[in-house]
Amino acid sequence: MITVGVRSSGARRAAPRALLLILTLLLAALVPAFGKHEPATAADSPNGGGVTLRVGIQQEFDSLNPFLGFSLASTDVFRLIYPTLTTYSAEDFSVVPELATDWKSSEDKLTWTFHIRRGVHWSDGRPVTAHDVAYTFKRMMNDPAAATANGNYVDNFSSVTAPDDRTVVIRTESPQATMRSIAAPIVPRHVWSRIDNVAEFANQRMPVVGSGPFVATEYRPQQYLTLRANEDFWRGAPTVDRLRFVNFENSDAAVQALRKGEIDVVRDLTPTQFDALRGTDDIRRVRGKGRRFFEIVLNPGAANSAGDPIGTGHPALRDARVRRAIDRAIDRERLVERVLGGYGTVGAGYLPPIFEDYYWTPPPEARRPFSIEAANRALNEAGYPRGPDGVRRGPSGRALDFEFVLHGDSPTDALVGKFVKEWLSRLGIRVRPQPVSDNQVNQRTTAGDFDMVVSGWSVNPDPDYVLRLQTCGARPKPGGGGLPDSFLCDRRYDELYAQQLAEFDHSRRVDLIRKAQRRFHRMATGLILFYPNTLEAYRSDRFAGFERQPSEGGVITAQQGYWGYYGARPTEQARTASGGAGYRSAAFVVVGVLLLGAIVVVSVAARRRRTAEHRE
């Protein structure tokens, strides 16, 4: 032991050996990790032939537990492995049967009866019955943890029963127009009734028992999730044999992987990447309309549900004239061109153009086109003169100096902040962008502690949820909680909202929703800047095409349904090529490099030993 530090000559010679030993040990330490998932993959060898659709994603699966998972990545998977009562058509988002073959509601619209499809089986062979559906909903109603992700669907339920294997009866507290679009995944009762604590259950025992077009078979956190095709899917087996989601930490890595053919589809491309892929061999780009809108909320004088003012909003923003003037100072066309690289639609009413029915643009007389001069004029007329420093003053003499809260990790926010700051400075309004963490953005939004804040929502095919955000009811309760957006609390808007919720006739409902958007636009509490496109790309040598949703200008991945993955059309080349071809050559490269290194080390050492005697 004494000689450890002393016998250096021995230590020197031992060093390479020690290194080798350590490396071997480190590698050996990993072997069990590989073995862990072996049983799951044995049945479905990676090279067992067939076509694998590999999708690069840049978001983690927050949970594979359908009661807990919120993230887009997770909900996308749930749609593939669990059934839902109904789904949205790939063509135009119309509600179509899925697990429920048909449904009807009572006269008072309070009782809904769904009939469950026959011949559908869970992946472990058990049949899917009405009891599974009832179990799932009841668990969400009774177990708070199970309500985590989809509790909002059952908020209004008073009871759920399954009188027989094929019938589910749901009673609601009040009429609800969205009853036909309950997107909550249905889980097998025989599996989940054994789970006591939903909150702690990761649902990672592979294969996951489900009944969608695919079955999850292998999961490596932060690396990939593999699903195999469900041959017994009631609609028929999917066109690919396997589907794999591969995690990438940044979109550049994903794009490189696409270029090298390591993955087949990539989503959430930046405009730059999208442009860079133009003209690349074997890669086709897909520009789809997005479901998101991007808005700037101007604090109109936030108040809680009791009507008491809260937050630190600037008084000048309570003046709708100021808000409209600000709106006129924002050049949306330029934002779409510079921030989105042209891949987006200029913001208009409220709901995005992907939903053609509801999409509303202001008529010419209501439009507020970009004009700094007009905005300046409007502010002058409204009584906000410029102070000696060029900054306008409100009636109370307070300078128009606004805190603009941004999401710190969002490049889009940062860029929009830069533009808005410059434009408003020409209006005599000082803007101080404040990039903060998402948690803080949300907290400040809820508390009304902002003058301007960036906001944005993904809109479901049924727009009820985002419409409700702008009602008085969405304002936070005095004790905290609540989910406000722009703190618009307008009697006229609320009336329109209530009418559309109780309206079961589609075209009348559309009309009401457009009117509500017009009111929202008029009040100018939320300035809708743009609707970004969803940019995707795929390997055209391996896939001829995908089912898009909607079929006109829609997207491949993250649909409101499973159509994109389910209806992928592999090329002949993809069917015949064997996987893992690139791997062996890579292995040879590594071995070669290692060997070369070893040879160099040995020869240098030998030379040194020979010459050592001659040197001083």
Binding site: G5, S8, P144, A257, N439, Q440, Q443
Partner: protein, 344 residues
């Protein structure tokens, strides 16, 4: 003035195990205190942060106010801070680091899952960097001011001056993506390919293939530290009189170096190497992010973006804690290696 030392008396050899035990106890005790401080720091740092994680978790998903309240309750966010702190400490003792917001799973479980890849990456890189650094440092110091010294030093310093993630990006572009005629030799992301043929050898080779670029990046950035430490440490020894003794004995120059100078210079280097482990950890965070290496660093980065406070807190405690543990180990090892402090 050494007036407490009595030259007449022969100072005995090791006066038994008690001092050593006391030393070990003191060091381990100090480490435990530091770990506790890390835990406390981890808690308060991340809890004083304003923000509403519940809403962030459900970002852009339709949820009701009731769901949010239930979430806040589930994560204990509706409790007063001191109660949260008490629960945090109690849970920590059981190895429970709370539940991640973004993964909806126990943080401890996530960390255990990711720790292997990080140990592989950081371990390999550190071992390589230490070997390369020590060797180069020895060569550079022995011929101070010579061509070898100048080259080693300037290359090392230049690489040290480059931001880790930027170097990683360049390597990724050059060897992962490929530049001009050079094809992408190495994978751009991840730790293993999903479509590797079965068999341990193939899997190990596959991981090694993925390991090359991240490991290279990390080694390139950190080895200079070890090299400079070794160089300085050896230069300190270069003028030592016992080297003159060794030369007077008729030893060859390389024996003087290997038997006498290097073992002495190595001792202070050991502690400094461990002190620089924090730097390696820092490098791991960025390297793992650039190369999508599924380890703790990447987990930290994931947690950062939200920020997922329990997860950040967990990775903070684990990363800082492991560096502290390594340092305590270093002190113990040093104690064993250096006869001068071994028995005192």
């Amino acid at each position: 003035m050494t007036d407490t030392r009595d030259e007449l008396e022969t100072r005995g050899p090791a006066s038994g195990p008690p001092p050593l035990l006391r030393f070990v106890a003191a060091k381990v005790g100090g480490g435990v205190v530091s770990l506790f401080l890390v835990a406390v720091l981890g808690f308060f740092l991340f809890r004083v942060l304003p923000g509403d994680p519940a809403r962030t978790m459900t970002r852009s998903t339709p949820v009701s106010a009731e769901q949010l309240a239930a979430l806040r309750h589930r994560f204990g966010l509706d409790q007063p801070l001191y109660l949260q702190f008490r629960d945090f400490l109690l849970n920590l003792l059981h190895g429970d680091l709370g539940t991640s917001y973004i993964y909806n799973r126990p943080v401890a479980e996530l960390i255990v899952e990711r720790i292997g890849p990080t140990v592989l990456l950081v371990g390999t890189a550190t071992v390589l960097a230490v070997l390369v650094g020590l060797w180069m440092g020895t060569r550079a110091a022995w011929r101070q001011g010579g061509a070898v010294d100048r080259w080693f030093t300037s290359v090392g310093l230049t690489l040290w001056s480059v931001p880790t993630f930027w170097l990683g990006l360049l390597l990724l572009m050059a060897f992962g993506v490929g530049v001009g005629p050079l094809p992408g030799l190495f994978p751009v992301a991840g730790m293993s390919s999903p479509d590797v043929p079965p068999g341990v050898v193939a899997r190990v080779l596959d991981v090694a293939h993925h390991l090359v670029l991240p490991c290279l990046t990390l080694v390139a950035v950190i080895y200079a530290q070890f090299m400079m430490v070794m160089r300085t440490s050896l230069l300190e020894e270069m003028g030592a009189e016992y080297l003159t003794t060794a030369r007077a004995k008729g030893l060859r120059e390389d024996l003087v170096r290997r038997r006498h100078a290097v073992p002495n210079a190595l001792l202070p280097t050991v502690t400094l190497i461990f002190l620089h482990l924090g730097l390696v950890v820092a490098g791991a965070i960025t390297v793992e992010t650039v190369f999508s290496w599924p380890g703790l660093g990447l987990l930290t980065y994931e947690a950062l973006r939200v920020p997922d406070l329990p997860l950040l807190q967990g990775t903070f405690i684990v990363l800082a804690g492991s560096v502290i543990v390594m340092n305590v180990l270093a002190e113990l090892i040093y104690r064993l290696l250096d006869p001068r402090v071994r028995d005192s």
